[in-house]
Amino acid sequence: MSEPSQVEAARVPLVEVVGMTKRFGALLALNGVSVRLEPGSFHAILGENGAGKSTLVKCIMGYYRPDAGRLLLDGVQHDIYNPRQALAHGLGLVYQHFTLVPNMTAAENLVLGQTHASPTIDWANERARIESFQRNMPFHVDLDARVTSLAAGEKQKLEILKQLYLGHRVMILDEPTSVLTPSEADQVLGMLRDLTKAGRLSVVLITHKFREVRAFAEDVTVLRGGRLVGAGKVAELNDADLAGLMFGRETVFASADRTATKPGKAALEVRSVTTLNDKAMTACDALSLTVREGEILGVAGVAGNGQRELVEVLAGQRGIEAGEVRVAGVHYDRSRKQMRRYGVHLLTEEPLQNSCVRGMSVAENLSFRNFDDGANVQLGCFVRRSVLRRHARTLIQRYDIRTPTPDARLDTLSGGNVQRTVLARELSGTVSVLIAQNPCVGLDFSATSEIHSQIITARNRGAAILLFSEDLDELLELADRIVVMSEGHIVYETPRAAADVETIGLYMAGHRSEREDLWASNA
């Protein structure tokens, strides 16, 4: 299976999952789910968080041992007990997070996992083999580039190339587009669809984005609460059907009402801020932006263009090399005292890592902003735990945080509930400035629309909101004004009314205003 000719010749099998069931203690995570994947088809599995999508994939790939159910390849039953066996059967999984080795080159990553008799690597030979393999592929990557230097879209392509190079003919993609720009996502999914149409591949796409299902998939299977609740041809189902299946009710996607406020004074000003990234390279280069009261400023951009570093600067986690941050017209030193005085709040991405202590209880995590406030402290240094717990109970109820008790460790909660916990903590106080970074990544529809309406409500109350998002649809829905960040600069700005996805996408991809005309003439 190492020879490219054999790789090319490998046939795409018919995959059938029959009655897959998986139980975790009392929880029935997967309840008799069956899926049939015809050779060369593009099959979407749609479902909310916790619907059992990932459990199904992990049972197929041998990460979990299912309690019942069979996997048939071309009608022959296979027991798969570990991922290695799944790989040997030509089943490949592209994860949400990249599984490329960061400090290795693209070529080294492609050679990894090849089963060869020889213990040494003949690089000249390997390169020739990879290059001839790449010639038959619709996309290419620079073989000598280190993975750390590749953009997210390039990494995703390399990940897919790797699976194909390993001879995998059934590819399962778990939320693959969460780290890509819309155009990158379309490109990658489009290429996969071309490969399925050519009969070289079957694709299973795990997603909760209707748009992707509609644009690329032929078949769809909908899971809810571990059960298969619907399946069929995408062409025969409309969005309302899919939503109904997913949520078990006709859900209305109404975004919160945006009141027509006139933006007030400048609340948050970033003035020519320069900051460095973890490799001591410039991440933000004399960057300036202003958010006014009652306004949502959306920052679009591909991950890795300085957004994370800028958020860390605003959060007080990263040093400023030059420039200044001002809040409410005064110098903002990012101390706890100032955060409290000016009501600066933060919704960071990956809250469990960035703004919570996973080993502390839900109640403790909810009190990070106010446990040392006057009313919560007695005799100058003792925290009133009972007051904090009561406060936590109120928030748990109001924000619908599903936790067994306020004293449960935070890391025992699901991702959506951790997010709600942070949301409750950050939005329950007086919010004058809110900095939000990809607040809905990995959340299902209902949690997402809930967070969106909370953000809009805060705006309507007059808060200044700086929203970083890699999801352009989210920005178009929420922001009053959109700027594009690329290579540490703001390269484009537009009011929402005039926003055009294509133009924004171009600037996200690194086009600068002076190059715009050039690009237009080439196009």
Binding site: P83, N103, M104, E108, T120, I121, N277, K279, A280
Partner: protein, 309 residues
């Protein structure tokens, strides 16, 4: 400056080069071993203990068999066993490699001293010299260039290791495990298996480094044979940026620093002897401060290292 002063400077330099070549060997072996272990994503801080166990068991085997080279082999095997012990403990859930390393550091040192009590007086056969200065008529130069085969083996081992890391499947597998456990799992590699192998080989090298101490230079078994070489070699790996070739230069540099005090003493400068003796430790501190930054992560560090997360 008088002519006599010139000779003094030259003989100090020669003495430093000579003892740098001698003293650096254990640094070199321990750091090469630790580089391999750390490339797999684990830190073994217990190599000081492994070094002592290697020195003791190497001396004992050489004494028993009469062959110093069998002693070196015995020291390596003991070191590998210690490496496996570290790897075995670390493969248990929620066990921290640094804590295990410190425990093995203390255990190995104490155990070696305990088992080595009867070895203090007998004299084991010494590893032979190689006379690299045979072409010269200057006795001081000839003395400086008298080296041991282990040094040459160590220097050849460095490029071999670099080649293995980049041109063999096992090398790629090792780097994968050290750089991304997720990727390793996705490829179906056994993370604990790879790390156990790397730690055992690292232990083997550290054991050989110990045999050098007891069988060549200083060349006897004593309770305070090692003065932290095993621990400093771990620092040296960071300074060498996990590159085996750099380990050679770093080991020679540290060896030279350790040789400063004795070399000055040899030409009659005895004042501040202990201050010069501190040179390698001061160098360790200075290098760590110089090469670290609050602004960026260490370049080349395996991403899975617990100090790097």
């Amino acid at each position: 400056m008088s002519v006599g002063g010139d000779i003094g400077v030259w003989s100090v330099l020669l003495a430093i080069v000579g003892s740098a070549l001698r003293v650096s060997t254990p640094y070199l072996f321990v750091s090469l071993g630790e580089t391999l272990t750390e490339k797999s994503g684990r830190i073994n801080l217990g190599l000081e203990g492994t070094l002592m166990m290697g020195a003791m068991s190497g001396y004992a085997v050489a004494l028993g068999t009469g062959s110093p080279w069998l002693g070196v082999l015995g020291a390596g095997v003991t070191g590998a066993a210690f490496g496996l012990l570290h790897a075995g403990l670390c493969s248990l859930p929620r066990v921290n490699d640094i804590a295990v390393g410190i425990a093995l550091f203390i255990f190995g040192t104490g155990f070696a001293v305990y088992l080595g009590k009867p070895l203090v007086h007998p004299v084991a056969p010494r590893l032979p010299d190689i006379d690299l200065g045979f072409w010269s008529s200057l006795p001081s130069l000839r003395a400086a260039l008298q080296v041991n085969a282990l040094l040459i083996i160590g220097i050849l081992l460095a490029p071999a290791m670099l080649w293995i890391l980049h041109n063999t499947r096992w090398g790629l597998k090792l780097r994968t495990v050290g750089d991304s456990a997720d990727a390793a799992r996705a490829l179906g590699y056994s993370i604990n298996g790879v790390r156990a192998t790397a730690t055992a080989i690292g232990g083997f090298f550290a054991g050989v480094g110990g045999a050098f101490l007891s069988l060549y230079y200083p060349g006897a078994w004593t309770e305070n044979l090692s003065s932290g070489q095993g621990l400093m070699a771990v620092t040296l790996v960071i300074f060498a940026r996990w590159n085996p070739i750099n380990c050679v230069f770093a080991a020679l540099l540290f060896g030279g620093a350790s040789a400063l005090g004795p070399a000055l003493q040899a030409v009659g400068i005895t004042s501040n002897y202990y201050l010069y003796g501190a040179a390698p430790y001061v160098l360790t501190l200075v290098l760590l401060i110089r090469t670290s930054s609050t602004k960026h992560r260490l370049f080349g560090a395996p991403s899975e290292l617990s100090i790097n997360k």
